[in-house]
Symmetry: C2
Subunit: 125 residues, 2 copies
DNA sequence: ATCCCACCTGGAGCGCACTCCAGGTCAACA
DNA sequence: TGTTGACCTGGAGTGCGCTCCAGGTGGGAT
């Protein structure tokens, strides 16, 4: 079991120190330990939790919903069902998101081919 | 060739009327016709352009870059090369975006399986 | 004639998710 | 002993992309 300074944690988690502080303030991070002089000390568990937060944020989950998830996580075993449903619902939205991105991307690629064609036409034979 | 009121255009394009006005104001939409009483009249061409804008916005292109693209589009044939490069670069970013979403989604799905497992264990035999 | 409704304008306001700042503390190193 | 640098706090500020508002106009139905 290792411990990490805010700076290390920022680097490992990909969140800025300011964001870590912000997440603690709003309740996305709870029970972060402090050393004798009041500085934050992050554990491996904290890092794992941050990785989860990264997955959720990185797939577009709004902070408010992540907050809900954190509350459930704090609630222990009784909330597993609810957490499961929340993640499944989110997973569905991510799927849709990817599908829409693909569709839009195809249209953009179509346009790219069109432009490429235009350029070729202009070429000397 | 048909013409469309702002309301129709909003419905067809998926942008709100306010957003259409905003886009015209900042220069993403140019040369939108007006009728005798000053109201906007959108053409099929405008609608096609809006569809393109939707693709770009919907895949996360920032307004500033769309503005760049619009300027190029107004520049005529000489800018085809540049437009091509812009779209290709964007296409690359969309690809990355999708890849990251997939990675994150897999981690979330792993978590979902974990929760499902937890629930099954608790089941009576 | 009057009412309504869709539209017009310039400009203010909003929600989100950070990000920055001023002023302070503490530990380590020169 | 002084300086540096990483960290602390509460709170203000930022950037983006809209979204809303007040006050006004014009055209068609009643």
């Amino acid at each position: 079991m290792s411990f990490y300074s805010p700076g290390e944690t920022a680097e490992k988690s990909g969140f800025s120190i300011d964001t870590l502080r912000y997440y603690e303030k709003i309740g996305l991070l709870s029970g972060i330990a402090r050393n004798a002089s009041g500085r934050r000390v992050f554990s491996d568990d904290d890092l794992q939790w941050l990785e989860m937060l990264r997955c959720l944020r990185g797939t577009g989950m709004p902070i408010a919903e992540m907050l809900r998830y954190s509350e459930l996580a704090r609630g222990g075993d009784e909330t597993v069902q609810e957490r499961l449903e929340l993640l499944q619902e989110h997973d569905r939205r991510v799927e849709e998101q990817i599908a829409e991105l693909r569709t839009r991307q195809e249209q953009i690629q179509w346009k790219i081919r069109l432009y490429s064609g235009t350029l070729c036409e202009g070429l000397p034979a």
